[in-house]
Amino acid sequence: MRFIVDKGRLIPETLAKNDKDAKPISHIDFPPSIQLTPGFHYSAELLSFVEGRQLLLEELPFPLDLIQAHYEHGYLSYEKGIVKTKHGWRCMRCGNEDGRFFASFPCARCHTVCTYCRKCIMMGRVSECTPLVVSRFSFPQSRYLSPLSWNGTLSEGQQRAADAVENAIAQNGELVIWAVCGAGKTEVLFQGIARALEMGKRVCIATPRIDVVRELAPRLKQAFANVPLIALYGGSEDRGKFAPLVISTTHQLLRFYRAFDVMVIDEVDAFPYSVEPMLEYAAAKARKEKSSLIYLTATPHPAWQREIRRGTRKAVTIPARYHRFPLPVPSFEWCGNWRRQLKRGSLPRNVMAWVQSRIETEKQAFLFVPHIDVLEKVVRILKQLDERIEGVHAEDPERAEKVQAFRDGRIPLLVTTTILERGVTVPNIDVAVLGAEDDIFTESALVQIAGRVGRSAQYPDGDIRFFHYGKTKGMVAAKRQIERMNKEAAERGLLKTQ
């Protein structure tokens, strides 16, 4: 697609009478938007389709001349998809600025060598000649009276956080909720979301993980039974829809634009991916200019932890689990050069002993390892101990089946590479890490791993063992973080007193 400029307005070449100066939109300087013409007979269908979104022309099932008429009357605007920066390019849809994720091709739409973004290509190509269509008009939003149908109770720690969330939402503020694994983060949001819906605000919960979207949606649907809710992820049926309550993955969020009054980002620093810059960008773009921003995290980034301690970043901690038992603390155990041993086809003696004792006492366990190649070797060795032991990794096609088998107790010990199985809360398990010194096991990763243990009230304790070949800062920091949370919980009286 190319445009010409006529009296400060963009006109697609196919609609222009004279297309001899047509250029890709990224090569044109044009005023940002046109003033709204009152009294224009707009298409409510088109405007409600585009509202709060930033879409490609091919994503709009409307004729081009209708779209153009809405642009000319100020109801829609065209924006550049790719912008040239000092050092290269920026994709305005996904925020990518990494030169490795741009490529060029001889484009049949604009007849130039056209640069496009490879990072968000799965959502349709954004190139130099791609206009992004955004809405300049919004319909009044509906209010919901007492929308919350959940009547559970919150722990003391949760209640304090819930009040803070409600406050932040009412005042369009920013807030970090730092809640330990198993604190019950989701319930903390309910009160604030209810307030937002009463005020006619639109709420979005964004997460990098599709599993989280699938898990949260039914819980929120139940809590807000009378409020339309949509869950957006690749392949979901709700794509293309809009509702006052939206749960979305990063990619789906990229299609939104100044749509939400409340943005909740869940799983900041979700292991194994430290915060994706794309999620950060998508969330910033999808928020209204005046809106609140709530981060939910179990393990904030070290820089954030410092800011929180100094008081320069507003945060509330929930240091205790909902069952009011302290977090189990990991212990370290040196296991020598385990990689060399693995090459010879064996595991360090203490690691073997640990596994053997889980099998003997029939206590289920996870064994985390740093990489897939390690995983395969470890599984081969452990299968000699017990045939039922299995390994699972992120791209394992049988991942779901194996996790289910573990849940059902058919697998006594699961060797795993990532914490993709973090949604797996199996009561009464132990956890060990082999090679805890590896770079992949950052502070937050190790805290998350430790967080698998003692989740249920019946079995609030368990063994967490970090087998290592040299202690790392990450290991020490993870342990310190857990101990600090336990200390704070005790001081605040959030733990059970025996």
Binding site: E58, R100, F101, A103, S104, F105, P106, C107, A108, R109, C114, Y116, R118, I121, M122, G124, R125, S127
Partner: protein, 235 residues
């Protein structure tokens, strides 16, 4: 380096061969490269279909049953001299082609450079006329590029575009019979003389061979001496 397809970081194998011949390092990681399966071993003389894994009943001597059918039909006999394909159209190739052609990630074509060229020069040479299968104008606009032409450009030989294509609904929605029956979507775009020329058509996938034969027919009618083809994958 990061893999062109899966974007995972990897260490490209650097050997003396790369150093001495200034051969470029692979743009794919070992895992992605290994997921493509090249066609070798015994193949159908005409369409290049591998005989390995094919039922015996689908083979008659040097030809596959499909090509035997084509050869029996006077209208289609010897229209396509031969087709050769570089890779099997396996699940991984399907995924990659979808990303490349339908999502429009043009850069992927680079991953096929070496093996596509090698396969071309194994069967043809630079005296052949290179003709990519065209897209209809509508489809070309929709995709932004013609994947067959992108492949043709890998050869760094002059490209001829004597054909144009009428817009029809997407082929994949039709059955083989329907496809066979459909009239020819290709025609000559201009009065070019192809007299005596040996042509190699280029396309991304050989499925039934109908598209290539329709194009070949138009070219033969315009005087071409022979029409062969090379495709990236064999469905």
């Amino acid at each position: 380096m990061n893999c062109l397809i899966c974007h995972a970081p990897y260490n490209p194998l650097a050997s003396w061969q790369h150093f001495l011949t200034l051969k470029n390092a692979d743009c794919l990681c070992v895992k992605c490269r290994g997921a493509f399966v090249k066609i070798d071993g015994e193949i159908c003389d005409i369409c290049g279909r591998p005989f390995a894994g094919l039922e015996r009943s689908h083979r008659q001597g040097k030809l596959c049953a499909d090509c035997v059918q084509w050869q029996k039909d006077d209208e289609w006999k010897d229209v396509l001299t031969k087709n050769r394909s570089v890779y099997m159209y396996n699940e991984f190739m399907k995924e990659v082609v979808a990303l490349w052609k339908f999502r429009g990630d043009y850069a992927i074509v680079q991953a096929f450079q070496d093996e596509f060229c090698r396969e071309f020069y194994r069967h043809f040479d630079n005296t052949f006329c290179i003709v990519p299968i065209p897209l209809s104008d509508e489809r070309l606009y929709e995709r932004g590029f013609n994947q067959a032409k992108a492949l043709a450009e890998l050869l760094a030989l002059p490209i001829y575009e004597p054909l144009c294509r009428r817009h029809l609904e997407k082929q994949s929605k039709k059955s083989r019979l329907e496809r066979l029956r459909t009239e020819n979507v290709f025609r000559l775009s201009e009065k070019t003389s192809l007299r005596g020329k040996h042509i190699v058509l280029i396309d991304d996938i050989y499925t039934t061979g109908t598209t290539l034969r329709h194009a070949a027919k138009v070219l033969l009618k315009a005087g071409a001496a022979s029409v062969s083809s090379i495709t990236l994958a064999r469905g």
